[in-house]
């Protein structure tokens, strides 16, 4: 294992920000893994830290394939993490909206640039992503469909679902999108929680990444077989939105199957406690996202369901 500083940034009043990369194996740049780019992505950093520990053992046991180099970056933006912010604290910009970056530009453009220089040239890239809304996800892998990466590769993670997303204009400055433009086959892995650590889903995505390494002949670790992955277009998943605002309670667990008409959740009046909305499933399928916050506005995505 080699631990190296990939990029540094001086701050006026804090210790210098050093972004570390951990590399394992030697030779061809095969796989790069990026954890927390936002200050609330604790779960994402945690999964990476477990991968670093596992890869140390794997390397010592000689189980990393010849001519393969793996790099793991557990955390980019710990400055924000240490002060309870999600984005870059000074100007509230999101590093994951600054790619490919610019070395003469603004601070977060420089961070993105410093990072991206180190991330280019890998055959595969995995980013542990988070959703902008509070909620629980069934762990899944997502592909931003730029036409470069073969979606079949998502099956090598052995997660239940692989979701294909058509990029929107605001996706074009993300790491995932730019990785693919620079010819790295890139995947985003969603591991349920963000601000908190959820051991079960951390386990699930930890093993999914090991499975990917095994199936791609990158590193050979002990890992149980996964699911046979269903590939789904994001546009085919059903979003259920709140029709009322108030106090939200969920009545299902993620990963559970719901029949058309089943109650998924309820909204009650925050002042008088009356039930003002029953949220019912419009289709039969698997619940793969639930909103998680006691308060809910109108027109908020509260469940996502995969038909079938």
């Amino acid at each position: 294992m080699k631990k190296s500083i990939l990029f540094s940034l001086r701050s006026p009043y804090r210790e210098q920000l050093d972004v570390y990369g951990y590399t394992f194996g030697h030779g061809r740049k095969t796989l790069a893994i990026v954890g927390a780019m936002r200050g609330n992505e604790v779960q994402q950093m945690y999964v990476c830290s477990r991968l670093v520990r596992e890869m140390k053992k794997t390397e010592a046991a000689g189980k990393i394939a010849d001519d393969c180099e793996i790099m793991i970056i557990p955390c980019v933006n710990y400055y924000s993490m240490n002060i309870g912010k999600r984005f870059w604290a000074m100007d509230n910009t999101d590093i994951n909206r600054m790619f490919p970056g610019y070395d003469q530009g603004e601070t977060t453009q420089r961070i993105a640039d410093g990072l991206f220089r180190n991330l280019q040239g890998y055959e595969y890239g995995i980013q542990f992503a988070s959703f902008y809304q509070q909620g629980n996800f069934l762990p899944h892998v997502k592909l931003m469909d730029t036409g470069f990466t073969d979606s079949e590769l998502m099956k090598d993670f052995g997660l239940r679902y692989g979701i294909i997303r058509r990029p929107r204009p605001y996706d074009t400055t993300t790491l995932n999108y730019n990785w693919q433009i620079w010819e790295t086959k890139a995947f985003s892995v969603y591991a349920n929680a963000t601000d908190t650590i959820d051991e079960d889903s951390a386990d699930e995505v930890f093993y999914a990444v090991l499975r990917f390494m095994k199936n791609r002949d990158i590193a050979d670790t002990k890992v149980q077989p996964g699911f046979s992955t269903d590939l789904i277009n994001e546009s085919e998943t059903h979003q259920v939105q709140s029709e009322k605002a108030g106090i939200f309670t969920s009545a299902v667990d993620i990963g559970k199957y719901a029949e058309t008409g089943d109650i998924l959740g309820r909204i009650t009046d925050p002042f008088d406690g009356e039930i003002i909305s029953e949220i019912r499933s419009p289709i039969s399928g698997t619940v793969y996202f639930e909103y998680q916050n006691p308060l809910i506005n109108e027109n908020t995505v509260c469940f996502k369901i995969i038909k079938g």
Binding site: P12, E106, Q133
Partner: protein
């Protein structure tokens, strides 16, 4: 007439309402929309829309057409000194055109677009951010430049900045409206969280002049000056390389030469100057940093190339 054009129930006891005011007179059907307050920390547009609205009401006989004023596209943001949409950490100007059956923010953005469409012209007023002070300017993307520059020249700004289009900017209100047939000008001026009265008066004259040219205003207008055009001029960006406290030694609007000392980045702990900041090109300083704390990469100034004897501010 004040109207609510979009509404969404918030979790506890209130609704988010987007409101507009319509001022109408005569038989003319020409419609101009003034919109502002997409970014909750930008306030210059609040005073400008007040000036325009109150003046038109006092001189309503001179109006022949329809003025729609949308002072706060992001009312919760303005109310809470939040640039984006509170709770979502979302830049509202990356959500347009929105959608009819999307999330709360998407539905609201969609309603805003639907309501503005049909205007002959729209002016979207921004005011930089809390970090930078800007001269009154209109920003136009290259593909719309030919159609918009003649109108931008009517607005009494100091600069028309024609910039490359970027895919990410397709999610702005201006791009959405321009691509759907409502000519939209984006004004940037002043600094965030403040009101620069003289800029608001300057743009007030510009708005009346635009109305005159659109045939909606029968009253007098003050003299308008012709803006500089960025096309074929170099724009120099001065970014900090060090971290510390930026103290400029030039004024906003000064003309500088390449290499000229324009400020320092200092470190109060070590009592050292950590960076001598110099002009990267000849020209006028049309953007200057207001907020002193800087990291490596913080924008300190922008310099617009000018010809000999050219007057700007």
């Amino acid at each position: 007439m004040i109207e609510t054009i979009a509404s969404a129930a918030l979790a506890v006891g209130e609704a988010l309402n987007i409101r507009k005011k319509r001022i109408k007179n005569g038989t003319g059907r020409t419609r101009l929309s003034l919109v502002t307050g997409t970014h909750g920390d930008e306030l210059e547009g609040q005073y400008l829309t007040y000036l325009v609205g109150s003046y038109l009401e006092k001189h309503i006989d001179m109006l022949d057409g329809i003025i729609d004023i949308y002072p706060a596209l992001n009312p919760m943001g303005i109310d809470s000194i939040t640039r984006g949409i509170p709770m979502f950490d979302l830049d509202m100007n990356r959500v347009f055109p929105g959608s009819k059956d999307g999330t709360m923010t998407e539905v609201i953005c969609n309603s805003i677009v639907e309501d503005i469409l049909g205007s002959d012209m729209c002016v979207d007023i921004h005011s930089s951010n809390i970090f930078l002070k800007e001269i009154p300017q209109i920003r136009i993307s290259v593909p719309t430049a030919e159609a918009l520059i003649p109108y931008a020249e009517m607005m009494n700004v100091d600069l028309i900045w024609v910039h490359e289009s970027a895919t990410v900017l397709e999610s702005t209100l201006a791009h959405t409206l321009n691509s759907r047939g409502t000519k939209t000008l984006v004004v940037e001026m002043g600094v965030g969280m403040r009101i620069t009265k003289e800029y608001c008066y300057q743009l007030f004259d510009g708005v009346l002049n635009l109305m005159k040219n659109l045939g909606m205003w029968k009253g007098d207008v003050n003299g308008i000056h012709k803006p500089l055009l960025s096309v074929n001029r170099n724009v120099g960006f001065v970014n900090s390389d060090a971290a510390g406290i930026f103290v400029p030694c030039v004024n906003f609007g000064d003309t500088v030469r390449k290499g000229e000392h324009i400020g320092d980045v200092v470190d109060p702990l070590s009592s050292q100057i950590v960076e001598n900041v110099n002009a990267v090109s000849d020209g006028i300083i049309f953007t200057l940093r207001e907020y002193p704390v800087v990291y490596g990469g913080s924008l300190l100034a922008r310099i617009l190339e000018t010809s000999e004897g050219e007057e700007v501010l």
